[in-house]
Symmetry: C2
Subunit: 162 residues, 2 copies
């Protein structure tokens, strides 16, 4: 399914951050739920063709998460802590790919209610260095983000988020 | 007490980070302890003349902390989560002043063993924006950091960290 909503990814030269903006055809409460309930998260987070196994996903302030993406026999594990989860507006968390241990980013997702029951999500990632930020860009994260959001469109459209 | 060890604070124009470097006349294991054991932390963290009340300080991967600095009847509360605590080398945590809620930084402290039982601590703070970084610099944090490290010199010299 090709979405009418474009995923905008901005990463200025010489900066330590990536800013991603995306709109969804669903109310803010539902989009927020899709970000915080593990049974929903595993249905959309990450690139197409990946299985997501959730080790833990305690989406509350002070909670931890860890999940593993699997494709073609390869495993990619990610972990972090939730600094703040304030429904339905804000999620602030750390993020680390266990394959690049010690390289951690701080992720802030802001959920904004738009007219007509639509939602805008703005995600900012700040990295410990410009080199870390550039490593993330080279990792193919853009495809994963775009495809993940298309999968999220689908589960929202199918009414799987209630 | 005037320390012979200088606190170097580097914050380049247009960057989202602050890098602080400081050496101590004590072995790495002890300096690391002084950063992670709440009864020690409260004896040095923050500017001179402040009382530190620790609400929680669970310095382990996935743990939370919250403390309140008090001076002249004013209270300043800080909170965050520990993404990683790996003795005696690395502490990665989030940091938020509750008086500026929603403005969070990612702090990485690296402890390096030097010859003669000395230790170098490198602390990096990355902020969600350049404006946030500049707000932190204007807050007088430099004085707090320098004075805190002088207090840490003292408790190390007095043999209070074992």
């Amino acid at each position: 399914m090709k979405s009418k909503n474009e995923t905008k990814i901005v990463s200025e030269s010489g900066s330590q951050e990536i800013i991603i903006t995306r709109e969804f055809e669903a109310p803010r409460e539902l989009v927020f739920k899709a970000y915080t309930e593990p049974e929903l998260v595993k249905q959309w987070l990450g690139p197409k063709g990946y299985e997501m196994h959730i080790d833990k996903y305690d989406a509350k302030s002070g909670g931890e998460y860890r999940y593993i993406h699997t494709a073609e026999g390869e495993e990619y594990a990610f972990r972090g802590v939730f600094h703040e989860v304030s429904a339905p507006e804000t999620i602030i968390q750390t993020f680390e790919f266990e394959g690049a241990k010690g390289h951690v980013s701080l992720e802030t997702a802001t959920f904004e209610a738009l007219p007509d029951n639509r939602t805008r999500v703005t995600g900012s990632s700040v990295f410990q260095s410009i080199a870390d930020r550039d490593m993330m860009l080279r990792s193919g994260m853009e495809i994963g983000v775009r495809e993940g959001y298309e999968r999220l469109d689908e589960i929202l459209e199918k009414g799987l988020v209630k």
